[in-house]
Subunit: 265 residues, 2 copies
C-alpha cells in the first residue's frame, strides 16, 4: 500500500527511519507550499524548537537546497533543487519532447495541461503547463495520484499490462469524492471504453469541481508510456465540450508520440 498525494505528513503515522532527515524534508515541503518561511514559523509547523529548525534549514542552505532572502531573513527553496531536478528529468524523454506541445495545448484549450507517467500504483505528473484561464490551478507535478480516479491514470491503466491492471482492480478503490469509481467491475468497463475510443475523462472523481480528460502517449516501441491531460473546473469543461477537447488532446498526444519515435498505426 503506497500513500497518495504525499503532502507534509509530519509528526504522524509510522516511524521514520531518520528523524532529522524526515524533518529536513518537511522543511522543503513546507517551503514549497508556502513560498517563504522564517525559522520561527518553520519551528511552529514542525513542532520543534526554534534552534532545531534553524540547524535543519542551515544544513539545507549549505547545500543550496534553500536560500536565505536577506542577511537575517526568511528562507525559500534554493536553486540547488534545480540541479537535482535536471538529473531527474534527464531520464524522462517525454518530459523534453512533450513540453512544446503541452504549451500549445494549454494555450489553445485555456486549461492546465499535464503529462503523467505510471509509477507503481500511481499516476505522477512530470510536466505541467498553465493555461491562460484566470482560475489558478494547483501544482500537480511530482504528486502521486490514484490511477482509478484521474483521467491520466485511467489512460495509463487502460493500456497497461495485465499485472498492473489486476493489481489496481483487486485493491480497495477508496472513494475520494462521491463520484469516485469504487466498483472494480465498473472501472473495468470504463477502462475498456477508454481503450476503445482512445481517451479518458474524469469528472469530480478526484476532487469536487475538477474535471479532466486524457489521451495516451506512445514511445518508440509502441507501448503507452505516458498520458497527456487537460484539467480545469467542471463548469468550464462540460460534457458537451469533451469531444472537442479530446480531439485536440489525442492529436497532441500523437505528435508527442511521433517525436518519441512512434510511427505505428
Amino acid at each position: 500500500m503506497v500513500s497518495y498525494m504525499g503532502e507534509t505528513n509530519r509528526s504522524g503515522g509510522d516511524a521514520s527511519q531518520v528523524q532529522s532527515v524526515d524533518r529536513a524534508l518537511s522543511v522543503l515541503d513546507l517551503l514549497a507550499k508556502h513560498g517563504e518561511l522564517g525559522v520561527t514559523e518553520l519551528a511552529a509547523e514542525l513542532d520543534v524548537h526554534k534552534s532545531t529548525a534553524f540547524r535543519l534549514v542551515t544544513a539545507l542552505d549549505r547545500r543550496d537546497l534553500v536560500q536565505q532572502i536577506g542577511d537575517r531573513g526568511k528562507y525559500r527553496l534554493g536553486l540547488g533543487i534545480l540541479r537535482l531536478a535536471a538529473a531527474t528529468t534527464g531520464r524522462l524523454e517525454v518530459s523534453h519532447e512533450g513540453r512544446e506541445v503541452c504549451e500549445r495545448l494549454a494555450n489553445e484549450l485555456g486549461e492546465t495541461v499535464n503529462i503523467a507517467i505510471m509509477e507503481d500504483d500511481a499516476a505522477v505528473n512530470v510536466l505541467q503547463e498553465y493555461g491562460n484561464a484566470s482560475v489558478m490551478t494547483r501544482n500537480w507535478i511530482g504528486r502521486r495520484t490514484p490511477l482509478y480516479a484521474t483521467s491520466s491514470g485511467k489512460v495509463l491503466l487502460a493500456f497497461a499490462d495485465e499485472t498492473a491492471r489486476k493489481a489496481v482492480l483487486e485493491s480497495t478503490l477508496e472513494p475520494l469524492t462521491d463520484n469516485t469509481t469504487t466498483d472494480p467491475q465498473q472501472l473495468l468497463r470504463e477502462l475498456d471504453e477508454v481503450a476503445r475510443r482512445g481517451w479518458a475523462c474524469t469528472s469530480e472523481e478526484l476532487e469536487i469541481g475538477l474535471t479532466a480528460l486524457a489521451a495516451p502517449i506512445r514511445d518508440g516501441g509502441g507501448r503507452v508510456a505516458a498520458a497527456v491531460s487537460a484539467s480545469g473546473p467542471s463548469f468550464r469543461l462540460t460534457p458537451d465540450s469533451f469531444e472537442e477537447v479530446a480531439e485536440k488532446l489525442v492529436a497532441g498526444a500523437a505528435e508527442i508520440s511521433s517525436r518519441l519515435g512512434y510511427y505505428g498505426a
Copy 2:
C-alpha cells in the same frame, strides 16, 4: 566567502549543522551524479556503514525524493524532486519565458544554451537546452559558478549595481585555469567592454577547452535580470565565430526581454 561548484563536499571541511541531513543530501547529489546506485555503493561513497546508508535512502524514499528500481534493487532520484523544482521555478519568470528561445538558439547554434541569474557572488544557471552537437556537455543547472570567470557572470556583473560589482572586484579572484582573469583592473576593463558592446565571452577561463558567450536579458523594469549564454568546446567556438554567435544571442536575449515586458531602447 561562498563556495563554488557545490559538488559533494562530503566528509571534509567545516562542521555541518546536522550530520544525518548532510549525509542524506550527499545521497541526492551522488544519485544525481551517477544515476543509479545501490545501498552498498552509497555506503562506500559516504564512508558510512551499509545500514546507515540504507536508513538514509529509505527516509528519502518515503518522501519520494528517491525511488527504488526493483523490489530489492538500486536507487535513483525520484519524482518528488520535480514537485520541489516546480515550486522553485514558479518564482523565476525568466525560466518560463526563456525556454522556447533557448531551444531555438540551441538548435541554430548547435551548442548548449543556458540562462543564468546572479545570486550573491555567483552566477547560477536556471535553464539549459542542449544543442544537437555530439559532444556531450555537462549539466550546469543549479551550480554556482564564479561571476568573474564565466560569460554569463561577466554580463551580470557588467550591468549590476555598484555594490555587487565592488564586492567582486575587491574579492580575491582565484585562478581556475591559466586563462582566468585574476587582475581586478583587467576585469574592470573587460566589464566596461561588455557593457559597451552588449555581450561577453570567456575562453578557457573557467575550464580548459570550454568557451562561452553571453548576452543580457532585461526585465520589465529595464534591469538586467539574467543572461543567456552559449557554451561549447573551444575548437568549435573560435574567435572568428564570436560576432555571429553573439549576434544571435543578443537577438534571442532581446526577444526574451520583450516577453518579460521590456520594450525600452
